[in-house]
Symmetry: C3
């Protein structure tokens, strides 16, 4: 059973802060691909959100190393924090590639993948919020939705790559979009990793 | 020492079931690349085997979370199950790419890599079967063979990529085959990860 | 607190040996890209260093499985050894690609990335050397430098990829260099993983 003490609150608060930062990054990425203007400035903003995420992760890990009793397994807190960091890193990697490759305008396929990402990151935030109350049913419900969204992103990616190779004749354009689509799909994989970790944690502490 | 109890049998049975499913998937992939017809149907069949693998993995993890005493370290069971899941996921990813990229006929290089995979997955199954008896010599022998097959796949991949860039002039064709060969090679890396885990487990419990 | 016993010395000695081998590999890679001649022979030499690294890693893991009390957490020794192995594997992978793809001469961008790698691997060696004395300040100082070098490599990679797509018209050439640059950048990620592990270990044992 969770021992809820001030110390514990701190870990849950930090995990919620990391989740909120991931939601902010997803919103910024969504705005970026839908209103593709001031590209340098918008991608720099996403880079700042990524740095903020690094700081939150670093704070969690430092605190873990300094704390003797943790509300949930030390390794689980570490793994959840690391994968939430990865969620943001991969969103930033995708936005950086849109800028680096001098994309003129994001494809509808790109916008559709970002839309799935945004939903998935919101579900991650909701699942993390359900953690301190040990609400297994709630965590499980969000986790199932995250799994569904990962399958959806994977299906979209496969369709998009099949279309890209079938219709685009310029190899450099194929390479750029292939990498951007694959980078976006990884975000939903990372969300799924967080979901599985949260399910395990709640199950162990049920 | 292993405590062999009915509960323990259940974990070993599930790990064997996962290994058997990986062997079935390797056989289906081998048939797919050697008799490349009914592409949609055959790749859908491999997708079904992958879903079956997901269910087995999910059952193992749920059981782990509900079990207090496990026959071998909880983390080891989790890691072995996850990597066996990855073996199947990567085989499915390769078969999906053969379908998505509208490959006309698999190259001899592709068939050769799948042949190495099939052998490696069979060795994984044999090594997993040797686990409950703590047969270190037997696990070690299969593990060494899996390492040899991984080296063989890596050597083939490097040769294949060198040839591909030296002889194929169409960049899109290079991209497709490069990705398929690399995806296939990852399967043998995942087999090696399972082999290393099994060796560690048997050594710890010797 | 570290219990320093003969047995412990052995682990620290092996980790230092692995770090020294990584430094040797980085030096060989640096020579390879700066004096790009006798390509088969030099890349074979790097492959030998990688095999030597495998043997050191294997010795550490075997020893871990046979040792009851370890000077620092078993999982940490395992993770540090594995990531130091990966550092060398990725350097070898980059050198193999330079040979496989029949590169005529490494680009200045390639040489610059290898230069960052060489510095980072030297910092890893220095940080590992500071481990037995639990010198947190020293480990932290090297770790910060490794983080800086990883950021530097990431910045260079992004610049290099942007330039490559903007200036190189031959798609096969773009593919080759993209893969080589990305492979080199991964080396600095692996160095950063080792740095984070060393920081955690020293913090936990402070």
């Amino acid at each position: 059973m969770f021992r809820v003490m001030p110390q514990d609150d701190k870990f849950f608060t930090l995990l919620n802060t990391a989740a909120a930062n991931a939601v902010d990054t997803a919103a910024a990425l969504s705005d970026f691909v839908q209103h593709f203007e001031n590209v340098q400035e918008k991608s720099r903003h996403i880079k700042e959100l990524e740095s903020r995420g690094d700081n939150i992760t670093h704070e969690i890990i430092t605190k873990l190393n300094q704390t003797f009793v943790t509300p949930i397994d030390r390794e689980d807190i570490h793994a959840i924090a690391s994968h939430m960091d990865d969620i943001v890193d991969w969103m930033e990697a995708a936005s950086a590639r849109l800028a680096m490759y001098r994309i003129e305008v994001p494809t509808p396929q790109c916008v559709a993948l970002v839309n799935v990402i945004e939903q998935s990151v919101q579900e991650v935030k909701a699942a993390v919020a359900a953690l301190p109350a040990r609400n297994f049913e709630l965590v499980r419900r969000h986790s199932m939705e995250i799994n569904r969204l990962e399958n959806e992103a994977d299906r979209l990616l496969r369709e998009d790559l099949a279309d890209l190779f079938a219709t685009e004749k310029d190899p450099l354009t194929v390479m750029k979009w292939k990498e951007i689509y694959e980078t976006l799909e990884v975000v939903t994989d990372e969300c799924e990793d967080v979901a599985h970790l949260l399910e395990s944690v709640v199950m162990k502490n049920a």
